[in-house]
Amino acid sequence: MLEVIGLQKSFGGIRAVNGCTFEVERNTITGLIGPNGAGKTTVFNLISGFFSPDGGKIVLSGSRIDQLPAHRVPHLRLARTFQITRELSKMTVIDNLMVAPLDQMGETLFNSWFRIPSVKRQERKIREKALQVLEFLEIPDLKDEYASNLSGGQKKLLEFGRTMMTDPEIILLDEPGAGVNPTLMKKLNGYIERLRTDEGVTFFLIEHDMDLVMKLCDPIIVMNEGKVLAQGTAREIQENRKVLDAYLGG
C-alpha cells in the first residue's frame, strides 16, 4: 500500500532520515517506534508532502508521491493527524470537520455566489457525514462548540474525526495517545480497530506508549538514527537485542 525506499532528508548538517526503507501493508495497523530524534515525524512529514526528500522514493497505491505538492497528497486518499493537535480554534467542531472533505464544489468563489443545487446537495452530504463522525466518536453534543473550548483529549478525537471525513484508505497518526487518559485511549483503540475491520482502512502510527503499540500494532517498525533498525511482530521486537540497545542507549 505504502512503500518507502531509500528515503533521505537532511536539515543543515543533521541527517534526520538516512536511507529509510520499509513497507506498510494494506489493512494493517503498522506501528512506527524509536527513540526521540530517530526521524519518525520527519518520515511522516515526507510522506504527507510537507517536506520534499533529498533522495529516495515514496510510492502510495502504485504511484510516486514524493514530488507532489503537499495539497495533492490527500487526493491519493491519505489523511494525517499532527503530533501537537492543530484544531481550528476559532471555528466550531462541525466546521472543523466540514472543511476536511476534498474537492468541494462550494470552494470556488463562483459557486459561492451562484449556489447551484449540486453545491447545496454536496454540502448537505458533507454535513450528514460530519454528524455521523461525531456520533461515531460519541461527541455529538460538541458540534457547535468552538474547537478552542475542547479538552486535550477531545481535540485528539476531533483530529481523528477530521481524517475520517476524507474517506481515506490510509491514515497516518502522529502520537494519537499523547496526553490522552487511559479510558479515552481504550475508546480510540476501539475506533481504530473498527475502521480497519469495517471499512478496510490502513493505519500507520507513531507512538511512544509501548503497551499501546504492542497491543494494537502488527507489524511494528523500529527506527533509530534515521534508519530502520528492526521490523516484526510485537514479540519479535520485544526480544530484539538491537532494539533494546537503542532504547537503553547500550
Binding site: G49, F82, M91, A100, D103, L109, S112, W113, T166
Partner: protein, 310 residues
Amino acid sequence: MSGAVGFLVFFLTYAVVYGILALGLNIQWGFTGLVNFGVAGFFAVGAYIAAFMTGTPSPYHLGGFGLPFPVGLLIAMGVSGIFALILGFPVIRLREDYLAIVTIGFAEIVRLIIVTEKNITKGPYGMGVIKPYKDLVPASYYSLLYLGIALLVLAILYVAMERAVRSPWGRALRTLREDERVAIAFGKNVNSFKLQVLVLGSMIFGLAGAVFGHFFNFITPNHFLPMETFLVWVMVMAGGSGNNIGVLLGALAVRGLWEGMMFLSDVLPRGIQIGAIRLAVIGLLLVLVVMVKPEGILGEKKTASDILGE
C-alpha cells in the same frame, strides 16, 4: 441644503468610501489573515484609473476617454486586480510578514510615481475628476444624489461579499487563516486561495478609489498617504475582523471620530495641532480595542457557511 445637512452628507459619503475599503481589507485580513499594508496604493490606482477613463480629453494628463461612470468603476477594479496579481504571484508563497513589507513598498511606489509622472497624472498639482450624472438633479442636491450612488455601490458589494464568505469557500479561507498546514493536509491549494483573495480585496480597494475620486472631484497624491492604510486597519480591527457589518460600523465610528475631532479646535487652547491629537486618539482607540475587546465591536459569526440556510 443647509450647512449641517451638507456636512452630514459629506461625512456619510466619506464613511461609505471607507466602508468599501474596510470590506476589502476584511476579506484579506479578517477572513484569510493576509497582511496587506498597501491599501492606499490600490486605492490610488482605482482613483486615477477611474479619473482617466471618465474624464474629458486633456493634453495635461492621460485620457480622458469619456467613458460612462460604471465602466470607469469596472476598469478601475480590473486594473487594481491586475496590479495585485502581478504583485501577488511572486510573493504569495512567502511568509505573511514579507507580504506586509512588499505591499507597503508597492503603495509608496504607486504614490511616488503619481508625484513624479506629471505628464500622466499632473503630479502634485492633482487632477480633476468628473461629477457623474450631474445633470439629473439641481446642483444644490447633487451631493445627496452622489451619496445615494455610493450607498448603492456599498450595498451591492456588501451582499456579494457576505454571500462569498458565508460558503464553503469562506470556510476554507477561515481554515487557512487558522492553520495553513491543516488546510494543506486537507487538500486545499493554499496559494491559489491566497492569490484569489489578494486580487479580490485589491479590486475592492480600486473600487473605493474610484468612488472616492468622483466624490471629491479632485485627487492628489497626498490623498493616498500610508496613513489611509492604517486608518482602514483600525476600522477593521475595531469593528470586528471577520464580520462585514462590524467593519462597516468600524468605518463609521473611526470616520466619525476623525471628523468629529475637528470641532475640538474651538475648545482646545490655541497652538495645539488638531491633526496630532487625531492620530493620538485613533492610536489610543486601537490600544483600547486590543486590550478590552480584541474581537472588535462585533465578533465573527460562529458558523462559517450559511449555504444550508442557517
